[in-house]
Every structure is written in structure tokens, then in C-alpha cells.
């Protein structure tokens, strides 16, 4: 039991919490057809994170968080600037900005010698879920013991705070987010600017991306943003239900993904374990595939069957 508490539980918590924070925000990205903003943001935060790290010299610091937030805002402004001045389509403007900022992050990382010490390119891409350990946990009762809980890895605490922030953001601004996602014009005429709310959403996305970054890496963050939300979108039309379903999908992907990665190969008789972050994203993707195929209303299989019934009748 203590091995589970010390090694597996922290990783599960880390993965699930990361998935939850991203998954909830992802709903609005998917609805606003901004899913690729999640992609762009998860790339552009890299230089911010690296500079924040160089400034504070510790991973998981708030300096990294601030650096990432600033990088995200810079990126949004740059994309807007290039789109307006260059008269290019938003996708291309986004492509220019996020590849450049990611490249800058990679070069700074390699050049300053930060690479290999605490932060390296592989971690930036893959994350490091398995590194989370909670050595002070011995029995289940430690889960209720504040003293023991205080010794949880810093990254888990950070993700916890970020989750609280994200949930507060979604609950407090639910009405505004809903209206501005579905009807930006109505939102503007009601007096809250869809632009500012959009920027706030992007900043929240950046914060969630950074918090999840150390756990799952920059590319799998995209899966966290999109897959649970897309899964939920296949299953329901109500935004509230969609948020709840995406939350459940995120948490279950985190749990199942980790368990499959850690114990799956063992059950098949192999000695190794595979990348947990990767497996979480794979599970999230599989959930989405299932939803796309078998969702009661919008699933491909159901629709085909309905069509056939229609044709027969």
C-alpha cells in the first residue's frame, strides 16, 4: 500500500488534475473553434517557462507561471498583428508565431545550459509524470493528515490551486462564457466584450497549460484540451452537461491512462512500463473515438442506423 501511495498516487493525481484543468477550459476552445489556440499556446509558453526558470532557478515556480502567461499574451498580440498587417489567414499567422516562439524556447534552453539540469527539451515534449513522489505517505490515513498532505510534491499543489482557479473562472463567468462562445454579437451588445473575455480565456489556458506542462509535456497538453471536450460535445447539447462530462472524461483518462501505462505491460507479461503521459492522451483519444462512433445522438453508427431505419420505413 505504501508503494502505491508514495509512487503511483502522486502520478495519478498529477495526471488527473492536469487533465481536469485543461479539459474544462477546452470546452470553450472547442465551442469557439479555437481548438488550435490550445495547440499554439502550449507551444508558445516554452520560452516564457525557460526565462521564468532562468530567473527563479527552480522548477514549478510561480516565476515560470508568470513567464508563461506573459508569453501567451505576447503570442496573442503577435498573431493579431501579423494577421492584420500581413493580411494572412489566422491559421498561418498562428503557425508563424508558435513555431518561432517554440524554436526560441528550444534554442535558449540548449544555449543557457539549463538543458539537462532541471528542464530539458524531452521533458518539455514528453512531460515527466513518473517523477512525482510522495515519500511521507505510509498509510491511507495520511490522506486526511494535513501534515502529510503538506509534503505532497510542489507540482501537485500547484495544479490543485490552478484547478480551483479554473473552476472558479468557469463558474463565475459561466453566463458570459456561454453567451460569448455561442453569440459574440449578443455578448457585445449586452455589455461584456467578447474580446476581453477571449483574452482572459487564453490567459487561463496558458496558466493551465504551464501547470500541466511539467506533468504531461507540451504536446499532450493539446490532447487534454481537446479530447475530453470533443468527447463531451459528441454526447450532449447542454453546456452544463458538456462541462460535467468533460470533467469526468478528463479524470477517468488520467486514472485509466496511468494504470494502463504502469501495469498494462506487466499484465501482458512484459517487464517494462510505458510513458504514462502518452497513455493518458491515448485513453483520452480512445474515449473520443468511442464517442464519435457510438454517441446516442450524434455518433456515426447511430446516425447510420437511423438513416437505414428511415430508408426502410
Amino acid at each position: 500500500m505504501d508503494i502505491f501511495l508514495q509512487f503511483d498516487l502522486p502520478s495519478i493525481l498529477l495526471g488527473s488534475l492536469a487533465a481536469l484543468a485543461c479539459g474544462l477550459l477546452g470546452n470553450f476552445l472547442v465551442l469557439r473553434k479555437q481548438a488550435l489556440m490550445g495547440d499554439a499556446i502550449s507551444h508558445v509558453v516554452l520560452p516564457g517557462i525557460v526565462l521564468g526558470f532562468l530567473f527563479s532557478h527552480e522548477t514549478g515556480s510561480w516565476a515560470m507561471m508568470i513567464g508563461a502567461g506573459v508569453a501567451a499574451i505576447v503570442a496573442v498580440l503577435l498573431i493579431e498583428l501579423i494577421r492584420r498587417i500581413g493580411n494572412v489567414e489566422p491559421g498561418a499567422a498562428m503557425g508563424v508565431v508558435f513555431t518561432t516562439m517554440f524554436a526560441a524556447g528550444v534554442v535558449i534552453l540548449e544555449q543557457t545550459g539549463t538543458a539537462g539540469v532541471h528542464l530539458d527539451v524531452e521533458h518539455a515534449l514528453y512531460g515527466n509524470l513518473e517523477s512525482a513522489i510522495w515519500l511521507d505517505a505510509y498509510t491511507l490515513s495520511d490522506l486526511w493528515n494535513l501534515q502529510a498532505l503538506a509534503t505532497l510534491p510542489e507540482s501537485i499543489k500547484q495544479l490543485f490551486v490552478v484547478n480551483v482557479l479554473v473552476i472558479a473562472f468557469v463558474v463565475l463567468f459561466f453566463k458570459e462564457l456561454k453567451i460569448s462562445s455561442f453569440d459574440p454579437l449578443l455578448s457585445a451588445s449586452l455589455g461584456f466584450s467578447p474580446k476581453w473575455l477571449g483574452l482572459a480565456l487564453i490567459v487561463m489556458v496558458a496558466i493551465a497549460a504551464v501547470a500541466a506542462f511539467s506533468a504531461v509535456g507540451s504536446i499532450l497538453v493539446i490532447a487534454m484540451f481537446i479530447c475530453p471536450a470533443a468527447t463531451a460535445r459528441m454526447l450532449t447539447d447542454s453546456l452544463k452537461m458538456q462541462l460535467i462530462i468533460s470533467g469526468i472524461a478528463s479524470l477517468s483518462a488520467g486514472l485509466l491512462g496511468y494504470l494502463l501505462a504502469a501495469f498494462g505491460p506487466g499484465m501482458l507479461g512484459y517487464e517494462f512500463s510505458v510513458s504514462a503521459a502518452g497513455m493518458i492522451a491515448v485513453v483520452a483519444g480512445l474515449q473520443q473515438v468511442l464517442a464519435m462512433l457510438f454517441a446516442p445522438h450524434y455518433g456515426v453508427v447511430m446516425r447510420k442506423r437511423k438513416q437505414r431505419a428511415h430508408a426502410a420505413a
Binding site: G38, I85, V96, V106, E122, A230, P265, S275
Partner: protein, 411 residues
């Protein structure tokens, strides 16, 4: 620095030279194909394509390892990459057409989950503990150091071939981008052309994996065309400029990365390309920022000068500081704020010009609205001579020409 110049002049060793030339060819080919991807607004599909290569690379490595005893054969890995990237493209299309999810969500889903599968496979490879797997990491961010001669050669030749294919199919692709309906009516198979375009893009992505890495390879297909877009509107020129920027940027980037340790090739190439983009954004004569600023400045000067002279003609004081300084610099106003003789005579001319313009607007309201230069240039420079003559006759029916100053005095 010396190392950099040596690499730049192809004298830093045969391998480095080959890598640089290969990168340049890759940049040229991807810049050329990128133009059509950009015009067709499919830029971000290439992001899904590039990330979707990872599981193919990893799977090809495992299969080659198990069946042939050695996984590190570039062609085999690239075939694997191409196959899984192709499946990725089909998956994006399927999600887009068969579910209620939009294209952006489809792209995001495919790129992240395919990448995740690749990562899981990579960890399996790591646990297989076999030699040669270190090379696989290079596919993520590109690594040209330690590239074999044969590999560099493969990349150079393949990139050259793709570039050639783009040039040969340029006319059809332009048609596809600008007028799909006309292309179809002219007997081209549009669907097939679209597939060819994606296939060539896929080829570039796969070839570039080793040099630039899968995370950044799309920059090679995006940044050069976007930068080239600032310089021209004509497709063949656009292709040429994009290919040139791509080639030069990749060449310099590869040379830079060869000149020092710890210089990731892909990252450097992207940064060099971005600097080309920034330069284009600033100084392009067609739609650069400087050109726009200059145009604005000229426009401002014309308007202020004209308004100032009109004020002089109407004996009104000129109070606006910018107008005053422009008038003074033109010698139309003395240091004391009084109009000079030259200013007086110019003011009469402008006043008359303005009257003609006003008359023109009264007589032909619609045409004058359509004119961008209404009352900005002397009327004789904009309208045909006979129109101006009619206007003049209308304005001063009985005075012959070059009438008295302030003729008509209708104001």
C-alpha cells in the same frame, strides 16, 4: 564565428556541406509547396501531418528491428512516417465530414493522440534496450550532427524531386487555389490535385523530419510563403521568392547549427526564417510597415498643404502647427505666419482647383465618390482634359481662361 563562415562557404567538411545543401533544397521545396498550402488555407493541417509521423517512425523502427535486425535505416523509417502521416490526414478528413466536430478540433485531436501513441511506442523501444535508438530522438527537434553521408544525400535528392514536382505542377495548383470551379470545368481532377498537393506536403514533412524535427517542420512550409506574400501578388514570383527565402534561411540555419555545439538545427532554421519574415514585414515596398508609414506621411502632407493653402486663399489664419510647418517648409508662409507671394499665387491655384472639384462632385456625385484622389491631386492630373474643360466652362462661363484670381467668387 570562423566555424560559421567555414560552414557557410561549404568548407567545413564534406558532411557539413552536404547537410547544408540538403537543408537548402529542403527549404526551397517546402517554401514552394507552402505557397499553395497557404493559398488553399490548409496551413494547420500540416501540423497534424507532422505530428502524426511519430507513431509510424517508431513502429517502423520496431518492425525493422525485429525482422531485419537493425532499425536504423532512414528510408524504412521515412516510409513508416509517411504511412502514419497519411492515416492522420485521412483521420482529420473523416472527423471533419462525419461528426459534428470542426476542423480545428479534428486537427488537434489527431496531432495530439497520434503523437501520444508515438510516445508510448518510443518508451517501448527504450525498454527494448537496443543500440541505435538514440537516433530516434533526433526526429523530434532535428539533429544534423552525426548524420550519415547517405542520409544527407537521400534528403537532398528527395527534397530536390519534390521541389521539381511542385514547379512542374505549378499551373494546376494555382488554378486549384484561385478557381476550383474553373479547374474542374477545364478537365482537371480537382480531388486528385488536392490529394497530390497534400501528398507533396507529406513528402516534405517526412523528408524534413531528420533535419528540422517534427515539431518545427511546419514552420518551413508556413513562414517562407507568409514572408513572400509581402513582396508580390503574382503566383510564380511568390513561389520563387518563398523558395528563395526557404532555401537561404535553412542554409544559414544549418550552417549556424554546425558551427557550435548545443545548437538545435530545427530551432535555428526557424529563427533565421522568422528574421526574414520580420524584414519582409518591415521593408517590403508593397505592404510592409515602413511603406505604409511612408504612404501615410505623404497623404498627411498633401492634405495639410492643401488645407493650409485653401485657408490662405480664404484669408483665414492657419493655426494647426503641422500645417504651418509644412507651409513654411514649402516657402508658402513666412516666419511671421504671413503668406508669401508664392503662397498667395499657389493658394489661388488650389482654390480654383478645389472649386472645379466641388463642381465635379455636384455634377457627377457617384463618379466622384468612386475616385480615391478626389480633391487630393490637381484635377487635371486625375480627370481627362475634356472633362476638366467642360467643368471650367461651367464654372466661369464668360471669362476665357486662367481667369482673374478668385474668379467667380461664388464662395
Amino acid at each position: 564565428m570562423e566555424q560559421f563562415f567555414a560552414a557557410l562557404t561549404l568548407s567545413a567538411g564534406y558532411n557539413t556541406a552536404l547537410v547544408c545543401v540538403g537543408a537548402a533544397l529542403l527549404g526551397a521545396a517546402s517554401g514552394a509547396i507552402g505557397v499553395f498550402v497557404l493559398l488553399r488555407k490548409r496551413t494547420l493541417v500540416s501540423d497534424a501531418v507532422s505530428h502524426a509521423t511519430l507513431p509510424g517512425v517508431a513502429l517502423a523502427f520496431i518492425i525493422a528491428q525485429v525482422y531485419f535486425g537493425s532499425g536504423r535505416s532512414l528510408p524504412v523509417l521515412l516510409v513508416g512516417a509517411a504511412v502514419s502521416a497519411g492515416i492522420g490526414v485521412l483521420a482529420v478528413d473523416w472527423i471533419k465530414t462525419h461528426t459534428r466536430l470542426t476542423e480545428d478540433a479534428a486537427i488537434g485531436t489527431v496531432l495530439s493522440t497520434f503523437f501520444a501513441v508515438g510516445m508510448v511506442l518510443l518508451t517501448i523501444i527504450q525498454s527494448m534496450s537496443i543500440a541505435g535508438q538514440a537516433g530516434l530522438e533526433g526526429f523530434l527537434l532535428g539533429a544534423t550532427s552525426g548524420m550519415l553521408k547517405s542520409e544527407a544525400m537521400t534528403i537532398a535528392v528527395a527534397a530536390g524531386l519534390v521541389g521539381l514536382a511542385v514547379v512542374l505542377r505549378m499551373k494546376e495548383f494555382s488554378l486549384l487555389c484561385f478557381d476550383e470551379g474553373f479547374a474542374a470545368a477545364s478537365g482537371y481532377n480537382v480531388r486528385w490535385l488536392d490529394r497530390t498537393l497534400l501528398l507533396l506536403l507529406l513528402g516534405i514533412v517526412v523528408i524534413g523530419l531528420k533535419t528540422v524535427g517534427l515539431v518545427l517542420i511546419i514552420a518551413l512550409a508556413i513562414i517562407p510563403p507568409v514572408a513572400a506574400r509581402f513582396w508580390t501578388d503574382r503566383v510564380p514570383v511568390l513561389v520563387a521568392i518563398a523558395a528563395g527565402i526557404g532555401a537561404l534561411g535553412s542554409y544559414i540555419g544549418a550552417a549556424l547549427s554546425a558551427s557550435a555545439p548545443n545548437m538545435p538545427t530545427g530551432g535555428l532554421i526557424v529563427l533565421v526564417l522568422f528574421s526574414f519574415f520580420v524584414v519582409s514585414l518591415l521593408i517590403s515596398p508593397v505592404r510592409g510597415i515602413l511603406a505604409a508609414a511612408l504612404k501615410h506621411y505623404r497623404f498627411q502632407r498633401i492634405v495639410h498643404l492643401r488645407q493650409g493653402l485653401l485657408a490662405i486663399a480664404h484669408d483665414e489664419p492657419v493655426l494647426e502647427p503641422l500645417t504651418r510647418s509644412i507651409l513654411r517648409r514649402g516657402g508658402f508662409m513666412g516666419g511671421d505666419g504671413q503668406p508669401t507671394v508664392k503662397g498667395q499665387s499657389e493658394a489661388r491655384l488650389i482654390e480654383r482647383d478645389q472649386k472645379l472639384w466641388n463642381l465635379y462632385r455636384e455634377m457627377h456625385p457617384e463618379e466622384s465618390h468612386a475616385l480615391a484622389d478626389w480633391s487630393l491631386k490637381p484635377i487635371g492630373e486625375v480627370l481627362p482634359a475634356d472633362t476638366v474643360k467642360t467643368l471650367e466652362q461651367e464654372l466661369t462661363p464668360h471669362v476665357v481662361r486662367d481667369g482673374l484670381p478668385g474668379a467667380g467668387g461664388a464662395n
